[in-house]
Symmetry: D2
Subunit: 272 residues, 4 copies
Amino acid sequence: MRLAFFGDVVGKSGRDVLVEELSAFRDRLKLDFVVVNAENAAGGFGITERTAIELFDAGADVLTLGNHSWDQSEALTYIEREPRLLRPANYPSGTAPGRGTGLYETRSGARVMVMNVLLRLYMQPLDDPFACVDEALSASPLGQVADAIIVDAHGEATSEKHAMGHFCDGRASLVVGTHTHIPTADHQILAGGTAYQTDAGMCGSYDSVIGMDKEEPLRRFTTHMRSGRMQAASGPATACGVYVETDDRTGLAVRVEPIRFGGVLSEALPVV
Amino acid sequence: MRLAFFGDVVGKSGRDVLVEELSAFRDRLKLDFVVVNAENAAGGFGITERTAIELFDAGADVLTLGNHSWDQSEALTYIEREPRLLRPANYPSGTAPGRGTGLYETRSGARVMVMNVLLRLYMQPLDDPFACVDEALSASPLGQVADAIIVDAHGEATSEKHAMGHFCDGRASLVVGTHTHIPTADHQILAGGTAYQTDAGMCGSYDSVIGMDKEEPLRRFTTHMRSGRMQAASGPATACGVYVETDDRTGLAVRVEPIRFGGVLSEALPVV
Amino acid sequence: MRLAFFGDVVGKSGRDVLVEELSAFRDRLKLDFVVVNAENAAGGFGITERTAIELFDAGADVLTLGNHSWDQSEALTYIEREPRLLRPANYPSGTAPGRGTGLYETRSGARVMVMNVLLRLYMQPLDDPFACVDEALSASPLGQVADAIIVDAHGEATSEKHAMGHFCDGRASLVVGTHTHIPTADHQILAGGTAYQTDAGMCGSYDSVIGMDKEEPLRRFTTHMRSGRMQAASGPATACGVYVETDDRTGLAVRVEPIRFGGVLSEALPVV
Amino acid sequence: MRLAFFGDVVGKSGRDVLVEELSAFRDRLKLDFVVVNAENAAGGFGITERTAIELFDAGADVLTLGNHSWDQSEALTYIEREPRLLRPANYPSGTAPGRGTGLYETRSGARVMVMNVLLRLYMQPLDDPFACVDEALSASPLGQVADAIIVDAHGEATSEKHAMGHFCDGRASLVVGTHTHIPTADHQILAGGTAYQTDAGMCGSYDSVIGMDKEEPLRRFTTHMRSGRMQAASGPATACGVYVETDDRTGLAVRVEPIRFGGVLSEALPVV
Ligand SMILES: [Fe+2]
Ligand SMILES: [Fe+2]
Ligand SMILES: [Fe+2]
Ligand SMILES: [Fe+2]
Ligand SMILES: [Fe+2]
Ligand SMILES: [Fe+2]
Ligand SMILES: [Fe+2]
Ligand SMILES: [Fe+2]
């Protein structure tokens, strides 16, 4: 199977690059399934029904979230109506609306399990992400219940993401980090067959401070004073993500490549 | 000028890849100057005179440090004798031994200013890194006092590093992050001419948790219990870094490329 | 001299207890000078001109702030017009409006130096609070330039506050912590003659979560979901603070006692 | 029933004040049960069998721990043999040795449930302390399974402790915080009948930085450099704690008072 995962979409600029390019990219690579982290889709803060639909229409099969899930309060009700939208799975049971894992069918009938989980180092202490992922992977064994499994590990610290990759190794097709908004160059297939990249990077303008207009973050770092709200940067976005090919029999990865197109970063396009 | 910067060397495996490959790599790329972050060179924790000499002999012109500078106490005295070893420049005045900036001469007589600075988000609160860098850049204007300037921004958060890149834009040849031990794929030349990459990545084994044997970090993340000390992973290391070409007249960057060789990560070698 | 310091005033309930009681308390104890931390005076978040005037009218000579200084944006301009309002002194030079130290005259002509400083453990990294305090104390030697010196150390961690107490010992009349909103019972005169208490406690309702209505904080701790903004609790407030008597010749403390009146906490009133 | 709880015993000085005074204090107040937090009993770091026995012999019925539980590795096996020693209950199931809750019998046959739980704000993310406490309190209803219930909430942030107090209100006899090493003056009986104090304070020298010799912490705060290990301060200790009387029928509190004796802090002794 051919899968692609795109990191945090930041604001209009981030949505635009996917609206304009994702459909053709999807065709060219003959992608079976596309997951997009959309926690910053609405002006940099959370997601709305309108921005979600834009991304679904652009070619996303499933959208994941993170620590910004509820920045737009309409997400609290929208997620109840939209099974293709996932929030972190490790909220304490019975607290958050929506769900954190989903089993989806591709156009050709294959089953893809997707999961969003919030890590804890330098972040909010939701329930144990390792126990949560372990339970989900045990409930949907790769190659049996699911033909492919994608784990979006939303976290700050590279150590916790790297540990999560190994923790899932052999039981997921792809473990990919999100949240730092900077793509990492460490895509690899781990010893057990799981594709891994510490961070997918964002779909947003890299002439910015992690997707936001530079002025306000620079002011805060240098003066510790605020002057208004952060704004998503409006420059042309680079779409950043990961491409994975899996073995149809085992669901494990046989190939992993970075994806980068648009904007100011160097281009990386899998050749298929 | 042709410059290379390599990220955090982790343990023997990280030193070995440089000892074996750096000299030839340096010749092949006709490098004028090579800086290596060595804060984890001694078994993963700090630096010793012996490990520093190994790296100088391998072809490093200058070594930088970070939050692990003093893990080996001999570094406290060694740094006083070794001007090519730099610790974070933003220790409060009069506290730490050694220095945080240095002006060096290449074999061909060009002057390279190198600076190591510790960022503060999720880290120790040393003095303001932005004010510290500003002062150093003002004292050694690029293209006047220094023919090239390399700033090693040792930090956890991508936002603070990205902000530091823009903060120095036009005044340094290269701003490169270290500390997360994972290379980023966002190398770019900023609007003002400064080459930038959020993290250089480490020189260490990527079959690990950021350079350390997987077992202990995984145990800590899943059980919150320790069972002995972290150990640097012994698998073959990938040397990760950044290559920059500067305009001899201005000192600004005209080209930036990632460097990755050895170990399990995908190879990236600048073609010159 | 007889001094009193009251901790973080939280919302209307916190202002009310001072408006109703401070004037009589001040007379009864024959207080020469009263300092009140007012960073939460306006509905729990920051300060406004109106709420500041209420507290000045109630009997405060000087108001101090903290990490919530600018929650109400009018404070940014009000502080420029009001020398009796102090924000943390350790903002980088040239960034924040207003000032962080002040030298005031009591009704009887004595000079009192007051200083507000933001600590850094688990907080924003302003400039070094120890260096900042050191400079201010050197510029206004106790017993020479100032007849009394009060340092409001606004911080989270008991260790950093305790260290600040010793750091100032012999050079200030009183070092008192603020920010945690819970009074500590460790008032003491340190070896060098400085009165010290780790936290003054708040002037607010203790039937709350540190001054806020219980429901929202409890929801966040148990579900990690928000449901609206925090609200200052409206129950009757306890005014919490510290009473200090100084030696008129040296400015050092000869007596320190806790102050607690109103609300649900046990009463503590210095007997004079 | 008459209960006493003493906060973190720090080193020899902290043990000594209890060895010398606890037995007589216990008799004078006719205490039915005494709990002591002992996470720093062994030189400031963790606990050993020898130091635990000293405290049991001095009159402690149960010892609790915290984030320093395993600083001395012998505690990992000792706790398996000693049912009166409790570590935080919210370790993930199956990870830590020992137990986090215990049901004990007083000399007169009453049953006391004791629980140690690690909070998460600015600390390690163990499992949800609120869910953990909820489960334990549901399993041992106050007034039915247990005649008294004491919850030691080991945490940094006053907000999380205050929230925990309300969370348990009506279901525990006493919720008392530990870890900050500074006693708070907010002892009160909450609306539902649970006695509460944000922090018990330590049994240790208050001429220190939270129980440690001042020099090293001051050096670290001012220079960010270390010079050797922290040492427990050796000055005379103040024993700090809380005294609670419960209604024998309901197990709820009818009286709460601070305890402070020895050392430099002001004395507080319940009059019975
Ligand atoms: Fe994001
Ligand atoms: Fe995020
Ligand atoms: Fe580091
Ligand atoms: Fe490092
Ligand atoms: Fe406050
Ligand atoms: Fe505050
Ligand atoms: Fe502790
Ligand atoms: Fe402790």
